[in-house]
Symmetry: C2
Subunit: 321 residues, 2 copies
Amino acid sequence: MDQYSIGVDLGGTNLRAAAITTDGRILSRIAGRAKLSYGRDTVIDDIVSSIHKLRDECGSSQLLGVGVCLPGFILMEQGIILNSNNLPEFEGLAVRDVIEEKLGAPVVLENDANAAALGEHWMGAGKGVDDLLLLTLGTGIGGGIISGGKVLHGYLGMAGEIGHITVVPNGNPCGCGNQGCLEKHASATAITGMAKMMHLGADLSSEDVYNLALQGDEKAIMIFDIVGRSLGIALATLINIFNFPLYLLSGGPLPAWDQFAPAMLAETRRRSFAFRNTDTRIEKATLGNEAGLFGAAHLGALSRRAVPRAPERQPPSPIPL
Amino acid sequence: MDQYSIGVDLGGTNLRAAAITTDGRILSRIAGRAKLSYGRDTVIDDIVSSIHKLRDECGSSQLLGVGVCLPGFILMEQGIILNSNNLPEFEGLAVRDVIEEKLGAPVVLENDANAAALGEHWMGAGKGVDDLLLLTLGTGIGGGIISGGKVLHGYLGMAGEIGHITVVPNGNPCGCGNQGCLEKHASATAITGMAKMMHLGADLSSEDVYNLALQGDEKAIMIFDIVGRSLGIALATLINIFNFPLYLLSGGPLPAWDQFAPAMLAETRRRSFAFRNTDTRIEKATLGNEAGLFGAAHLGALSRRAVPRAPERQPPSPIPL
C-alpha cells in the first residue's frame, strides 16, 4: 500500500478532504457543504469525521500526516485563526488545538491561499519552480508566496495579503480599512459589484458578466478591462519586488482569462522593467479548487517527515487516530 | 590581530571602502570621489587599489574576504551589472570577473540597497531581526529585502525594486517605463522636482525644501505630505505582502522625518490591517551612508566562511592579494 497524507480544505461554502499519495495521486476524496450555520462544533466534527473516514478507507499504517487549510490569518505558532471574513464563527479560535484534541493526532494548519500556492508548487503549474506567487481570485483575492520552496509566512503568519495591495489610491472602499485594494477591483465579487454599479443587472454572477462581455456588451468589456488593469498594476509591483520567475492565477474568474488577460499583461509589461526584459511568466494555475487540498496534504506529509524518528528504540507507529 | 573583511561601496558620486572586523568595528576607511568621467578602468583601478591599501594597513593574514556593492541590477550568477542609471559606463560589464582578475582574489558582488539592508541587519537598526526591508531614499529609491537573515534576490538578482512600486497609477512618468513609481513621488529627486513644478524655486535641494517646510511654507509642506503619503501607500503594500516586523528608511531626506513621517504613518495605518493590529515597526536606519560598506564587508566575511576548509590537510592561507 502507498504512503499518503490527508488534506482538508475548509472554505466559506465547501468542506473538502482527500487522501493523497506522496507522489500526488488522490486515493479518495470527500466533498460536502461547510455547515457553518450549524456552529463551529459541527464544522470541526465534520472535519474530524472526514479524516477518520479517509483513514479507515486508505489505511492507518500508511498515513503520514494531516494538513488543514482555511481562510483567514493564522498565527502560525499558536494555530489561532484571526480575521477570517468567511469563517466569522472561528474568530480567535485555536483551531489547530481543537482539531488535534478531537482527532487525537497532530495537524498542520495553513492559510488556504498559502496551501493552494504550495499545492501548485508541488503538483500543479508550479511544479519544479521554487519561487512563485499564486493569486486566488474569489470572494476576495488571496495570495500565497513560495520562496525557496517554502511558504513565506511573515513573522505572525499574515504575509501574502496580495488582495490588499493598493491599486487605486482613491478606489473602492475595503473591509480592511483601506480603499482601492486589488480585491475590490479584480475579484469575482468586484466583478458583480461593478456590474451592479453600472446597472448591468443586480443579480448577475461574474460568469453572467463574462457572457455579456463575450456578446460584445461594452460595459461588461470595460469591467474586465478594469479587472485586467488592476491585476496588471499589482503584478508589476509584485514582479518588481520579488523577481520570481512565475506568477499564477486561480479562481472563479479564470475562465474569463481571454477577457481580462490582454489588459493585464499589457499593464504589467508597461509597469515592470523586469517583466519586459526577462522570461517571467504569468499563467493559469492548473489544480483548480483542489490546489488547497494538495498543499494541505503535502504539509501533512512533510510534518511527519520533520518529526525525528528513532526506529531502533521504538517501532514507527501509525498516527493514533 | 582581529580578523576582518573589506567592504567597498561604489556609487554614482562616491567610492568608499572600509576594513571591518567580524564584530563590526571599522579598522580603517577610505573615501573619495568615484571618477566615473575618467572611464570605468580608472574606477576599477581605484577599487582595487583601495582594497590593497586597506589590506596592507590591516594585515593580509587576517583578511577574510572582500565584498563590493554598487547600484543596478546584478545578475548574481554571472556577476554582471545591468541597467544602472548611476553607472552607465558599467552597463553589461562582468564587474565581478574584472575586479577579481585585477585583484587576483575572489570578490562578492551585491546591489547597493541589498548590501545596505544586510548592513543594517548585521550592525544597524535591524540587528537581531531576521526579516526586514530597507528603503533607501536618494536619487531614486532602492530596496533591500532580508528574509530569514539573507538577501532575497529573486531568480535573476532583480528583486527589491521597491522604488518602482506603483503608488499613483496615473502619476509622474518614470525612466523604467511605468508612471507613478514610488521613487517619482518620494525620492530626494522627486522632492526637488515637485518644488520646481510648484515654482518654489528652480535650484532648490531637498534640504532647501525641508527648510522652507520648517518655516511654514505651504507648498513645501504639501510636498512632504505627498512624500509621506506615497511612502505610506508603498509601506502598507509591503506590510500586507511580507508581514515583516521591521521596515527601515535611509537616505538624504531622512532628516526631514518630522515633515513626512506623520502622513506616512497615518497612510500606512489606514491602508494596512496588519500594521494597525500588530507591533510592526517603521523606523530610521542607523548606519547612514556606511550601511552598504557594512553589508559588503559582511558578505566578504561570509563568503570566506562558506568555503569549506580542510585545516588538517592544508593550512588556512591568506587570500592571495
